[in-house]
């Protein structure tokens, strides 16, 4: 098959994200993870395709559904799982939790729990890249639900006005929590929002991780050439509910099954299985993924919780009131 080495790399990461989250879901049901846990299962091709299109010196910002892009950018499973468990060895020292994955080394600027508020912030990061002339591109992910909130548009408005090196990726999984797209927005083609700001646009379905990578690359290169932002709408689907506490009764079993039949991870695996060599390699990767995820659970379990003295040091430099 074409680009067999890359195909295997992408397969391993997609499989890692899925298995990491399946085990996180299990740990959640055991009470080891508190609060909220929003799973990315079904959308992996976007994070992995994007990570392969970006350079290490580029920056990413995303929503609260952030485990996938964090892992794809290079965060270790240990740091991610420990964060979910609220342990001090987590990527945000256990203070952030599921929705607040940060990774300075891999230029991952969060994990944002407030819908849309990270788009202006991403524009600022892109501004700083342009200001310092370092050639970096910022990619910001948001959901279809964020298309209706003001901050989203303020971010796009500034990015387009200032011709910033940024790519807006709308991961359209077709539900804002429990409200379907056509019930929540008047124009369901999210890419048309680009027209209002004079931005370039693209729109496609995330069924093939190579297509995700290649089409995002076009937008990234446009940004790097100084030709301004692009809005890329990628149609996708989450197989689980909005969060662990959502049984997703607002959609039919048939609808979910229909999307699962077009699963990008399964499709990639089928391509790999078509040849004996890559099939054997994929099986070996499955085993290494299982070992990595199991180790992350063990690591998170064994890690200590943060102590209250960490609160002071992370609020601001100086005294605070208890």
């Amino acid at each position: 098959m074409k680009e067999a080495k890359t195909a295997l790399e992408m397969y391993r990461m997609m499989q890692l994200i899925r298995r990491f989250e399946e085990e996180a879901a299990r740990a959640y049901s055991l009470g080891k993870i508190g609060g909220f846990l929003h799973l990315y299962i079904g959308q992996e091709a976007i994070a992995v395709g994007a990570a392969h299109a970006l350079e290490a010196t580029d920056s990413v910002v995303t929503t609260y559904r952030d485990h996938g892009i964090a892992l794809a950018r290079g965060m270790t499973s240990n740091a991610g799982m420990a964060e979910l468990f609220g342990k001090v060895t987590g990527c945000s020292k256990g203070l952030g939790g599921s929705m607040h994955f940060f990774d300075k080394e891999h230029r991952m600027y969060g994990g944002h729990g407030i819908i849309g508020s990270h788009l202006p912030l991403a524009a600022g990061i892109a501004f700083a890249s342009k200001y310092t002339g370092d050639g970096g591109v910022t990619m910001v992910f948001y959901g279809d639900g964020a298309a209706s909130i003001g901050a989203t548009h303020e971010g796009m408005s500034l990015a387009a006005l200032w011709k910033l090196p940024i790519v807006f990726v709308c991961e359209n999984n077709q539900y804002s929590m429990g409200t379907s797209l056509e019930r929540s927005i008047s124009v369901t083609d999210m890419s048309t929002k680009a027209d209002a700001y004079g931005m370039a646009k693209d729109r496609f379905v995330a069924e093939d991780v190579f297509e995700v990578r290649d089409r995002l690359k076009v937008a990234i290169e446009r940004a790097r050439r100084g030709e301004g932002p692009t809005l890329v709408e990628i149609l996708t689907y989450r197989y689980r509910g909005h969060s662990m506490s959502d049984p997703a009764k607002y959609r039919t079993k048939e609808e979910v099954e229909d999307h699962k039949r077009r699963d990008a991870l399964n499709r990639l695996r089928a391509d790999l299985d078509a040849s004996t060599d890559t099939r054997a390699a994929a099986e070996a990767l499955d085993a290494s993924v299982e070992a990595e995820v199991a180790e992350s659970i063990r690591f998170a379990d064994a890690s200590p919780e943060p102590t209250a003295d960490l609160l002071e040091a992370t609020t601001y430099v100086g005294e605070f009131a208890r």
Binding site: L121, A123, T132
Partner: protein
């Protein structure tokens, strides 16, 4: 030393720090070519260019959100919100993103920036050009809040804020932008964040205030002096972290305290100050602490001088507290 007003002192601090630190970027509505509606950023656009002094669209959430991204990437943004009454479209960015960034990233991403914004009444601005929302930012853990009353403090505190590792809300009392004049040190001059100033020595009553109400408080203190009441005035300068030690030391001396602020009385910073005095100096009190504040109403257009805690409202409070 040079004689300056508040606007000149702030402008001087910005220019000084922009010359020595090219990470500083000023952005906001009309801050560039126009030089700001109050002319605080006048001349900076010509000196530093349009990539460092940026005119933005009317987009407060966008301005603060973009500034946060700049700070995360290593720049030192100084966004201006044209009036603090206009800050609320950006309140989500300030509360949810800016104030919590250091915490929720486990300390990995501090977010140093200075949000400058004119505050307070006295220009007949009515309800959308006169408010004092400082308490609404103090209540958000993670922000430092500053409000200078003199040109020298404005320069010194702004330079400290620009070098602080955390976000600072820098409230500029617009009533005294040009009315407050004084000697300002040239070149590098800092006033530490978190330190109050005893603006007037006295032994009978402690008066705690900040911003433009310092001058009304001084006027009231001079008036009650004629009646034998000697007032000690503490200009907080930094509203958070609060220099409660200076306040408590004074209250232990006088046993009496009046807090004066423009913001509405209920849940204003005065309430917190009185609570802290009760916690730390209860047995020293000779009279109930008193607050002279704005009313719990929208800021009025025609009744501004009734709403504001001006000298004519402070004098009776001082006399009543002194004679209790």
């Amino acid at each position: 030393m040079t004689q300056m007003n508040m606007v000149q002192a702030i402008n001087d601090a910005l220019r000084f720090e922009m010359q020595r630190d090219d990470r500083i970027v000023v952005l906001g509505e009309d801050v560039g070519k126009v030089g700001g509606v109050f002319r605080v950023t006048a001349g900076l656009y010509d000196e530093f260019g349009d990539d460092r002094v940026i005119d933005t669209p009317l987009s407060e959430g966008g301005i603060i959100g973009a500034a946060i991204g700049m700070a995360l990437y290593g720049l030192k943004p100084v966004p201006e919100i044209q009036f603090s009454d206009f800050i609320f479209p950006a309140y989500d960015q300030i509360v949810s993103e800016l104030a919590k960034f250091r915490y929720r990233s486990g300390g990995e991403f501090p977010c140093p920036m200075v949000i400058r914004t004119p505050v307070g009444g006295g220009i007949r601005g009515g309800h959308y050009h006169s408010q004092s929302p400082e308490a609404q930012f103090i209540h958000v853990a993670g922000l430092k809040v500053v409000c200078p009353a003199t040109p020298a403090d404005a320069k010194g505190l702004l330079l400290s804020a620009l070098r602080d590792p955390d976000p600072v809300m820098f409230f500029e009392p617009k009533r005294i932008y040009r009315a407050a004049k004084g000697e300002v040190p040239e070149g590098d001059y800092t006033v530490p964040i978190g330190k109050a100033n005893v603006a007037r020595q006295g032994e009978h009553v402690t008066l705690v205030t900040w911003g433009a109400m310092l001058y009304e408080s001084l006027d009231a203190a001079n008036k009650v002096q004629a009646e034998g009441v000697n007032v000690e005035i503490i200009d907080l300068r930094t509203l958070w972290p609060l220099d409660i030690d200076t306040v408590v030391a004074s209250v232990k001396k006088t046993g009496r305290v009046v807090v004066v602020h423009e913001a509405p009385k209920t849940c204003g910073l005065g309430g917190e100050i009185v609570a802290l005095i009760n916690e730390k100096a209860f047995l020293y009190l000779e009279a109930p602490p008193k607050r002279v504040c704005g009313f719990d109403t929208p800021f009025p257009y025609t009744l501004e001088n009734e709403y504001l805690p001006l000298s004519h409202r402070i004098v009776p409070a001082l006399l009543e507290t002194a004679r209790y």
